[in-house]
């Protein structure tokens, strides 16, 4: 059995670590929830698209020596463009008015992306080493790696930027209008198809940003998206599909659950905590903690 005192001492660092990871989860889930909130589709390829972004950061770093944080300038617009094209030319034509079709197409997309990645990058796990990789910071008694802290701050800033964008720009107003009532938005002259594609694009831009913050603190492999896709769904259903605040709180919560689960149940079995929360929330409170009734 694990010593109680040992757990007590490890609790605070585990909590802080969970929160930093949770901020990244929140950013990833924010993209997912935006796509769901506006298009009412579940993007099953979210995890594999994050993987694509992570590899892009890796290649930029290894080939051009571009710092992961500087790669933001490339990744955010790049993923944005990819998202716009994907929604317009792949996902939308397959819908035929049924949500399940979108699920199947994005599943197909994730299979294609993941297997192409394993073909070209092989299945091994890769990391990058920067000047600040091994720097440690003390946060109120808990020592955490510098890249993790930066990732957390970066993710939170990105969330803030997105919130401002949604609240104060014309595009944000149009997106909110379409999310609320697509038909009405069309009547007042909003190009709904364009807004759909823009929302998907912004959702992927979030992934681009998340990848830049994540890679210095994490690793990349063709299967890395797997872990993230269910975690992101958990965050989204926990916070309530389509709810921004919900995603943020849900992300932090899931990060903590995962970290504490690992501490109490061990590395291997600890991952189960997130899934149990996921299943329980879907069954008992499908509208999430902050969502409106579905």
């Amino acid at each position: 059995m694990i010593d109680g005192a040992l757990i007590g001492a490890a609790l605070w660092p585990a909590l802080v670590n969970g929160l930093t990871m949770g901020a990244i989860y929140a950013l990833i889930a924010l993209g997912l929830t935006l796509i769901y909130g506006v298009l009412h589709i579940i993007n099953f390829a979210h995890g594999s698209l994050l993987m694509v972004a992570l590899y892009a950061v890796l290649v930029l770093f290894e080939r051009l020596g571009l710092d992961p944080y500087a790669a933001l300038v490339v990744l955010v617009p790049g993923m944005f463009a990819l998202g716009y094209a994907l929604q317009r030319f792949v996902i939308n034509p397959a819908r035929h008015g049924r949500d399940e079709n979108t699920l199947l197409v994005t599943l197909g997309l994730s299979i294609v992306i993941e297997n192409l990645a394993s073909h070209f990058f092989k299945t091994d796990t890769r990391q990058i080493e920067t000047a600040y990789t091994f720097m440690m910071v003390d946060v109120a008694g808990a020592t955490i790696a510098m890249p993790r802290l930066l990732a957390c701050v970066g993710a939170l800033v990105s969330c803030l930027v997105l919130a401002v964008l949604m609240r104060y720009t014309d595009l944000g107003r149009a997106i909110r209008a379409v999310a609320r009532e697509a038909q009405g938005a069309r009547v007042v002259g909003i190009d709904v198809e364009h807004v759909f594609a823009m929302s998907f694009a912004i959702g992927l831009a979030c992934l681009g940003a998340a990848a830049c913050f994540l890679l210095p603190a994490y690793y990349v492999s063709p299967q890395v998206g797997h872990g993230f896709v269910l975690v992101a769904f958990t965050v989204v259903v926990l916070g309530g599909m389509g709810s921004f605040t919900g995603s943020l709180v849900g992300g932090l919560l899931v990060g903590v659950i995962e970290s504490l689960g690992g501490l109490l149940l061990g590395e291997s079995l600890g991952q189960i905590g997130v899934f149990v929360v996921f299943i329980a929330i879907l069954l008992l409170r499908p509208s999430g903690l902050f969502g409106h009734k579905a």
Partner: protein, 367 residues
Amino acid sequence: MHPPQSNRSVTGMASSIEDSAPPGRGSFSRSARSGQPAAVTHLLGGTMRSVRVLGAIGIVLALAPLVLHSDFQLTFVTLALYSTLLGAAWNILGGFGGQYSFGHAVFFGLGAYVAAMLQVHAGVPAWIGLVAGVAAGAAAGAALGAISFRYGLRGSYFALVTLAMAEVFRIVANSVPFTGAGVGMMIELRTGLADLQFESRRGYYYLALVLALVALAVGSWVRHSRFGAALAAVRDNEDAARALGIDATRVKVAATALSGTLMAAGGVFYLQYFHYIDPSLVFGPSVSVEALLGPIVGGLGTVLGPLIGAFALALVSQIATHLLGEAPALSMALYGLILIVMVTFLPRGIGGLGKLVRLRARRGRDA
């Protein structure tokens, strides 16, 4: 067999539901147009036709080993039949029931693990393992269906929950000692009918054939039975079906249990064929994808869709291997591409191609 009277009432109900359902998606569109007496003969005729078609396919495939001489050809058809079994299992819930599961590996893995644990830890012969594994699949299906549908999970949410369930089982199988954790389990090689292991490829061929035919026959029964009519009604418009007095939850739970039973048989076959399982092999997402891809390619909610889809996919992956060399990742990527293309351009699958051509032709004549 039901007496004609009861059939009539079921068809009548289903065709009234048809009005509110998207055109052409229900199984009874033809009967709705031609009136009830015709519908009854159609229903019975459909059953007989399905039985005859399945019988003919069974005879052809049973005689096929006389022509298929090389081990390569025999293995090809064996694996396509195994894939048919998985697809037919998924099709019962996903095709006839309209509930898309992304985690059918749960049942597959449970079947495989229950059989393997009985064989390794208790030393029982494989056929008992098969019975127990299939029973576990049925129980798991009933349980999963009961929890999900009682709480009203629908559409994409159901897909996500099944996916998460498969992940939970994978993690558990990876962590506890009696499943051999990450190392997996290996069963002894003991050939014989009771042990479901065979010295020649033909033994496995016939095992796969029997299992696939049983699964297709179950699908045919679902398609033509009163239960299947209720299931189709729930799929096409659950609220209307409820209003007509169908216990929608019970129907869906039964479909999940039936589907889980057949899927578990697939898991046991996998175990006997490859002698080795580990958590990612049997609870991993590729099993779930294989199960759903066949029916989608062949024709969702049709009796022969899983068979057509499985053979078409086996052929495609064989050609891909031939052209691209041994690159398992690339042929898997091709599967993903096929999924996208099918959903986008041929939502009725290959089996629906004939119908599409007929429709086009008719439209051409009318114009």
